[in-house]
């Protein structure tokens, strides 16, 4: 099986999920006696290509063009389609990033193919590859297989594989090959303008050792004070899942998850958070996870060390009391 991994960089920095996807590719290659070509796209990306060449891959494919300096869906689709036509891969893997979501399904469709997105794992069953993804906001997992001839397209969720298990190249370095692509300015219909960050946040949740996070279970903004009392008694920071920040009940800078901060505190106390994947990817690296939720089937309990199945409104005041006593 010939596997192509489309890595991602922006403005001189890797998107680290690229390496996790390479790990997935190495495991699939091992299970199928396959080969891996790691693809890097952009302009002036030879340093990235050289770094990829130190990993256990058969080759690195460098796709450079002036019009690929800044990401556009049209530019990437036009260029990568040519790469697939010339290299004829069986399987194309992407990290499931915001950028990949923006172009990969369409790219697959231009070849008449579908993409299995946001996978968390794979299995080999006979000569079939089974991809595992989540449905119903993480409440269920799904086994998905491809129908029809290769190439097949899939993307892996951030955190699905561990980047530190990426195998180095056995014989020094893999060859770096340059692939030519034809791209004209008129192929690109959208115009990327400046990249920016919103006003710098007053709080850096990534540095907070203790985090109390609230979700939909908090029900109303006037109830947040109860969670803040828990955070205060604990000496921790308050944070939230996306819906709370969407409602404007807490500022966006307090949001944990794929579109917010990724944190790995000593303690993550999730109050009334169901555990949708978009949230879980932002906190599953926490050392100790406590979940309080009245639904015993909430997916958050799958990653919790300690669980309390109860109404958070009964637990929050009791916990504030007990924490105050313990901290005396």
């Amino acid at each position: 099986m010939k596997i192509l991994v489309i890595t991602e960089q922006r403005q001189g920095k890797w998107n680290k999920t690229s390496f996790e996807t390479l790990v997935a590719a190495q495991q699939i290659a091992e299970a199928t006696s396959g080969t891996i070509s790691a693809v890097v796209v952009g302009k002036g990306v030879s340093a990235f290509a050289d770094e990829l060449a130190t990993k256990n891959v058969s080759e690195v494919l460098m796709v450079e063009h002036d019009l690929l300096e800044n990401y556009t869906p049209d530019g990437y689709c036009t260029a990568l389609k040519q790469i697939f036509e010339s290299t004829k891969p069986d399987l194309v893997l992407f990290p499931h990033t915001y950028q990949v979501r923006d172009f990969a399904p369409k790219l697959a469709a231009t070849l008449g193919k579908g993409m299995v997105g946001d996978c968390i794992g794979f299995r080999k069953e006979g000569d079939k590859l089974v991809f595992v993804r989540q449905m119903f906001q993480g409440k269920t997992a799904a086994d998905v297989t491809f129908i029809g001839a290769a190439p097949w397209f899939a993307s892996f969720q951030s955190g699905a594989f561990r980047a530190d298990s990426l195998a180095a190249h056995l014989g020094g370095k893999a060859p770096v090959n340059t692939a030519r692509v034809e791209l004209k300015p008129e192929d690109i219909r959208t115009k990327p303008l400046e990249l920016f960050k919103e006003a710098k946040s007053a709080v850096d949740l990534t540095q907070a050792p203790l985090i109390v996070a609230i979700g939909r279970g908090i029900k109303a903004p006037e109830n947040i004070a109860q969670a803040e009392a828990v955070a205060k008694a604990l000496g921790g920071e308050i944070a939230a899942s996306r819906p709370i920040c969407d409602e404007g009940w807490l500022p966006m800078e307090r949001q944990i998850g794929s579109s917010g901060q990724t944190v790995a505190p000593k303690l993550y106390l999730a109050l009334g958070i169901s555990g949708a994947i978009q949230h879980v990817v932002g906190m599953k690296g926490s050392r100790t996870i406590v979940a309080v939720n009245k639904d015993q089937n909430a997916p958050i309990f799958e990653i919790a060390d300690y669980g309390i199945v109860a109404d958070i409104f009964e637990i929050m005041p009791a916990l504030t009391d007990e924490l105050q006593k313990a901290k005396g």
């Binding site: 269920t140 997992a141 799904a142 219909r189 959208t190 303690l267 100790t288 799958e302």
Partner: protein, 254 residues
């Protein structure tokens, strides 16, 4: 400015799901408008209020999805299109997008909006696939949208707190990020007005879309646990006390 908003109906957030093969048992549970799509609808209504034109709510699914179209009409959409397909849960992302694209192709519109992803399948591909099938430019995960002289200036969300401005011509397809706006509730007046609005019903077959599926959901199941969770029991006070004890002496994190 004429806008088509794709709205999906999904199981209600707190609906108890029971698995049946590769989907769920639909009897006995409630359904609601997919939350991410409600932000797309709101954005469409705001654009209409600013620039005039028409908002069309488009949904694919069995008879029940009419309720979601009615909700969109009650909020202010002008008319609805229901593509009837009892078996829509078995469509793959490309198959569903082909049906929607065929329905959109029959209309004249300047903009197609979708939510970011659905809370059931969660494919998150519809908007991007529609752009490909309709041969329109697109952008996704949009947090701000300004139309000026036939062009759009868009604020696209990237990861880890980054954003990017992009310029996009019209017509186009956009996937709207949740939280871009504050979603309105339907008023009583809106609900009354919706009764007079038109919902066109078309069948998937009449659109003449044939699509070989590219992928198959073999089965769905409750995920296996990766961690052993210790559940604490008792009264709220007892559970809180036990938790503090565990955090202090077992996990040693406080």
């Amino acid at each position: 400015m004429n806008i088509i908003v794709c709205v999906k109906q999904v199981p209600a957030k707190d609906a108890p799901l029971s698995i049946a093969g590769n989907w769920i048992k639909e009897s006995d549970i409630g359904f609601e408008m997919n939350e991410p799509d409600s932000y797309a609808l709101e954005e469409a209504l705001r654009l209409k209020e600013k620039h005039g034109g028409e908002v069309i709510a488009l949904s694919l699914g069995p008879e029940r999805v009419k309720q979601t179209i009615k909700e969109a009409l009650a909020k202010g959409a002008d008319r609805g299109i229901h593509v009837v397909d009892d078996n829509f849960a078995q469509l793959d992302p490309l198959g569903a997008a082909k049906v929607l694209a065929a329905a959109i192709g029959k209309e004249k519109c300047d903009l197609v909006l979708t939510g970011l992803q659905s809370d059931d399948h969660g494919f998150g591909q519809t908007g991007v696939l529609l752009a490909g099938l309709l041969n329109l430019p697109h952008a996704t995960i949009i947090m701000q949208l300004d139309v000026h002289e036939g062009k759009m200036r868009l604020k696209r969300e990237l990861e880890a707190g980054w954003f990017q401005w992009i310029e996009c011509p019209l017509p186009a397809v956009l996937s709207i990020q949740s939280g871009i706006n504050k979603v309105r509730y339907a008023t009583l007046k809106g609900i009354m007005a919706a009764k007079k609005k038109e919902i066109a019903t078309i069948t998937r077959e009449s659109l003449g879309v044939t699509s070989e599926p590219t992928q198959k959901i073999e089965k769905i199941y409750v995920p296996t646990k990766t961690k052993k969770t210790e559940f604490l029991t008792g009264t709220p006070k007892e559970m809180a006390g036990k938790l503090v004890e565990k955090l202090k002496f077992e996990a040693r994190v406080i």
